[in-house]
Amino acid sequence: MATAISTVPDLAWTKKISSPHELAEYRQALTASMDPDAPCIRVCCGTGCKAVGSLDVLEAMRTAVAAAGIDVKVMPEVKRTGCHGFCSRGPLLTVQPQGLFYQRIKPEDAAEIVQKTIVGGEVLPRFLYKPPGAKEALAKVGDIPFFAKQTKVVLKRVGRIDPFDIRDAIADGAYEGLAKVLAGMTPHQVIEEIKSSRLRGRGGAGFPTGIKWESCAAQPGRHYVICNGDEGDPGAFMDASVMEGDPHAVLEGMAIAAYAMGSDRGFLYVRMEYPLAVQTLAAAIRQAEDLGLLGRNIMGTDFSFRTSVSTGAGAFVCGESSALMSSLEGKVGRPRAKYIRSTEKGFRDSPSNLNNVETYANVPEIILRGGQWYTSYGTERSAGTKVFSLTGNVHNVGLVEVPMGTSLREIVFGIGGGIPNKKELKAVQTGGPSGGCIPIPKKFLDINVGFGKLAEIGSMMGSGGMIVMDENTCMVEVSRYFINFLVEESCGQCTPCREGLTRMRETLSRITEGEGREGDIEMLEEIGQFTNSFSLCGLGTSAANPVLSTIKYFREEYEAHIRDKKCPAGVCKPLYYYEIDPEKCTGCGVCRKRCPAAAIEGEKKKPHTIHQELCIKCMECYKNCKFDSIKIL
């Protein structure tokens, strides 16, 4: 398997850009040298596609293009890019200028694609994406609902540019916002512009960014601009994609923030588990410094801003602002108990502005197009767009950017393509491990996703994780899973979080093992309420949300576990068994052949039976029965 991504272009010899105007000239020169009609193959090298072998595809494509000895005028370019977002169909690539979307490519397909599509101009149907239930395959990126229904602001360049080559980003408009700011905006004007956009922090709390900048800028002393890239929610990878696919958007946003607050030093705190993001960011910083777009005297002005990447050591709690700053200072990553905002006294006791990756990535566009333009997306209280990572029991797993206020129905069914295997949608979990589960069939499918609305129904926006759950999801098990995660990740210094979570995990485990007792639900509520109100940091004060929200909406499921010793969803092994419905069973024998424990018996074309004492509850028969004859009891 190819491991190394090919080299990063060295721009140290290039002349530094010495004025904002010169950047525009440089951009023009770059775009002029690029032919918009030139064939170009963009291979997704985001983490998702890399995991299924896209680096091999990239190498194979390069070799195939070189070997083809193409007689077209322009040599096609094979480009590695950041995440395209459609991770469930990887490895994927797009072919320009036609805008073809090919999915699930193997390295051995490379030669064929080059010969037929690039040289012959032919569309190869077997690589095209066919939406579930549709008859026709879709050829172009714009035709696919997953892409067509999104609004890309933050992810605008992700998947289109080579994250390791700054020239690609500049040609696509990177650092234009910074140039505008340096050419003729005062720090005050920048802050006013951000305030007028009503941008709210994308890390979860949703604090208005402009107000945060303003209060930080008003403080005396050296200011620090810090970017929180410690995205740790299970199943969330929005920030990872931005950092990996378009690092310059984040850097530019940070530089603009630094200019607005009079800071000259920035830090990107990126979790160690994102090695690719660390690489792209480090390369991007070096290249930007080589071109004079970061570092000393940016674009020939008096404004200097140096930034560097610091890696976390694997603690989820370090995404909390005061813990992050402790960790950045080299101390233990535990939240600090201080009633003082980090914009007053944060990193090294200096005024520090901490924002999330996505927040910074929004900034350049707001500066360029104005705050008014930004408010044209989204709702009154939640402006702009938001990236969600759509995971779980949904057809199109991947990254989705939609305007705030889009309904859950649109996200799950419109973009996500619905629930596979004809299952019913049961719940959507938002906001990461400390978020809540929203029950769907009842009433919330048409709620508009935004900061206020989600908090109202007992969940939260969080950083944008969205886990779709079908009818075979046990809500008790889900809350046990999240509590278990939080127990592992709690810092352990304050009593409610440490002891409360331990006790909740113990109780939930007992319930899922069939040992639930009368009074357990009330006890969970009591401890949950205590943990949420008495804890020290943001992790603790939202830690009980998974339990409280599932109890609120799925109390009958808890009761079934405790009173009837039944798991209605068929997840908690001691609490259910399978049975074959003799009415529906056709005796096809699929389940009998599939059963790894040989627990199913029956003659051909006659109803089969399951020997309960042999059954290991692996779900193989249930999943493979075409006639819906296996029931969970």
Partner: protein, 267 residues
Amino acid sequence: MKIVMDGKEVAAERGQTIVEVARRNGVYIPTLCHVPALEPAAMCRVCTVELAEGRRSRLVTACNYPLRGDAEIHTDTPLLRQNRKVLIELLASRCPGSETLKELAERYGANLNRFPGEDKQCIMCGLCARVCERVGGNVLALCGRGVEIRVDTSFGRLSPTCIACTSCVQICPVNAIRFEDVDGERRVIVRGKEAARVPLRRCASCGTHFGPVIDLGPVLERAGERGVPAFNASICPACSRRNLARRLAERHFEQHAVEPRDAGEES
């Protein structure tokens, strides 16, 4: 600045914490991880109170919340009582023998046996670690994360930097740390596990062991500072007292036996 605590206006200075104000005005707020000499850590959370500043009402820890403007504080509402009860019940599961917890349990009607668990002999107030940082050789610290958090020396080994000042022993509210002087050594024992062994000074006069040998650079440095007596005695306090008494007595008799000296020479 107008501070109203439980309905009564109380005297307070700007910047004082809620606990300081409460103590000054005789209002009871329970604390477990707070001593006035150390910087508050707000770890035990039992001192959480309800605070209304302006329109907002929220829960804050009294030990470290600095009062900066008008505020109304409630220290004993049903919500707080209920949550304190749960807190004590949860803490009791890891430290059932604690007298401090028993007292609090009585006050808040907590059932100490509600959550049976492993006796860890420690309520994780972190006082020992904090006092060790300030007074001792920074030997004890909170190690591990989450449920596994515990007080320990670095890497769980015998500490080479302990000065056996026993501040941790004094401060521990649940008596989980003790020390014993055996065989010319002082052993500091944290929850049954030896944390440090420091040799004791032997009195040059009577031969008993009396205090730890401190030959740690930074500590000696600190001891040499103005106002801090250097600790380099070679005889134990008892002998020292006896010698002083003897000297005084001798001088007394000398003075009365021979002719009186001039006042200037006497010192």
